[in-house]
């Protein structure tokens, strides 16, 4: 699984960071980013899905398999 953040949608609620600091980082301005290029280790898939489901801006999504 791979996830991505739409920087234009992210408004810094930091819900993703609260759910998983292994998957997400957040800067001093609240902008979130994915770690490891968005690669989600198997053990963190549930947390990735929770982060997607809790973002109030719908800014996080799964990258479709190419």
């Amino acid at each position: 699984m791979r996830i991505q953040i739409d920087d234009d949608k992210c408004q810094g609620h930091a819900r993703c960071y609260a759910i998983s600091q292994e998957l997400f980082d957040v800067d001093d301005y609240g902008q979130s980013s994915v770690r490891n290029g968005g690669a989600v280790p198997d053990g963190l898939v549930d947390k990735a899905r929770l982060a997607i489901a809790n973002c109030p801006e719908f800014a996080i999504s799964e990258v479709p398999e190419s």
Binding site: Q11, A14, Y17, D28, Y29, G30, A53, N54, P56
Partner: protein, 399 residues
């Protein structure tokens, strides 16, 4: 409680200060979602009240047509002879581009890392406030506890001495809670404004570690910031960080005082605190902000005219059954909770990290010392509503 004219029809004559609405807005929103999801009123000019998650978030994101130039749920007429803040309280009462750079200056003060540094002080403060009431075995959980916390935390960030907490609490309440009393509102705004103006002037020569000093010495595109923008930003930090957060703490304690199962569960399973905090924020979102329509627009069939007010009813959006399962229940372990208690779009509350920390710590410290409590027999809970909803008097008894 404010006295208002009786409402003839909630779809065309809503009144956010109506006593029944302040006490129970939830059933009114449910009713409106089924009949007229965007209500209107002509009291104090034309205003619109959306009640669904989809509408409220769509309106919040359309910043070009729905301006933040006046975010007051009820606007007080200004006396033209009074000194004015030409830029309002940026970034909250501004649109881009002023919004963008003023917000960027404030955000690092409320980053995760900064907020973590305020946590030990907050924890100590909360513990001492509970300790002070333990012997008595009862407290006004709103006035003696919730109301005492954010003013001191924000005061530390702004560089305001603790002895003035009660004065500030009074001013902030005057500024926000008494929409029908312009003189009282004026007193609150002037109290805060002149006090902060004096502190700003003190810091011109001497740079301190606080937010006021930082704003005063910051440069934007090589230029110092206009004094009136600094004052507006300082007033915003004071006003927005106090009434709102204590309302969230107070409403959460009200819920726990009146729902034994939830209280017992949270005490038994402290690991639920993170989801519980988000759920309490969702269910009892305190804050409604307004927008001003910039051009005539038909939104969901509603003929909104330039100058109309639209109330960003985030509290109602968070109770919308189309967006949340069991929307009217508090589910402490709700895993999926896309609530917008802190707004959505570019005006997302800049202090949301701080507010979350304060709410979590306030509940943890209270429950650690007072795991069992309920509303005092016969005590009436006094609620404030309008811009910010939360309990102002709430006598509870410890067991």
């Amino acid at each position: 409680m404010t006295r208002t004219e009786p409402v003839s029809d909630w779809t065309t004559d809503f009144e956010v200060l109506d006593e029944s609405y302040v006490l129970d807005p939830f059933s009114r929103w449910d009713e409106l979602r089924g009949t007229c999801p965007i209500a209107s009123t002509d009291r104090r000019g034309r205003a619109w009240l959306p009640t669904t998650y989809e509408d409220v978030t769509a309106l919040a994101r359309d910043v070009a047509r729905f301006s933040s130039i006046d975010t007051a749920v009820i606007t007080t007429e200004v006396n033209p002879e009074d000194p004015q803040l030409p830029y309002g309280l940026p970034p909250i009462t501004s649109d881009p581009p002023l919004h963008t750079w003023t917000r960027r200056l404030l955000l690092p003060w409320f980053s995760h890392a900064k907020v973590a540094s305020y946590e030990p002080m907050t924890r100590q403060l909360c513990a001492s406030l509970v300790d002070a009431r333990l012997a008595e075995g009862r407290a006004d959980a709103a006035a003696d506890y919730a109301q005492q916390i954010p003013v001191r935390v924000i005061g530390a960030i702004l560089g305001v001495p603790e002895q003035l907490s009660a004065t500030f609490t009074g001013w902030v309440r005057d500024a926000l809670e008494f929409a029908d009393d312009p003189e009282r509102r004026r007193r609150g705004n002037f109290g805060i404004g002149y006090y902060l103006w004096d502190r700003i002037n003190e810091r011109r020569d001497e740079e301190g570690e606080d937010l006021l000093s930082y704003l005063l010495h910051a440069r934007v595109d090589g230029e110092p910031i206009d004094d009136m923008i600094i004052l507006g930003m300082a007033m915003l930090t004071m006003i927005a960080g106090i009434d709102t957060t204590w309302s969230a703490i107070g409403s959460s304690l009200w819920h726990l005082a009146t729902h034994d199962e939830d209280r017992e569960r949270l005490v038994a399973e402290p690991g639920l605190m993170d989801t519980a905090v988000e759920e309490l924020l969702r269910a009892y979102s305190p804050v409604t902000m307004a927008r001003i329509v910039t051009e005539d627009v038909e939104f969901r069939g509603c003929p909104m005219r330039a100058g109309d007010k639209v109330l960003m009813n985030f509290p109602a959006a968070n109770r919308d059954p189309a967006a949340f399962e069991r929307a009217d229940e508090v589910v402490l372990d709700r895993a999926e909770n896309r609530h917008v208690a802190f707004g959505s779009g570019i005006h997302r509350c800049a202090g949301s990290n701080l507010a979350r920390m304060e709410l979590r710590v306030a509940l943890e410290e209270w429950l650690a010392k007072v795991p069992t409590f309920h509303l005092a027999d016969g005590a009436e809970v006094l609620w404030a509503g309008g811009q910010v909803r939360g309990p102002r008097e709430m006598e509870v008894v410890f067991e």
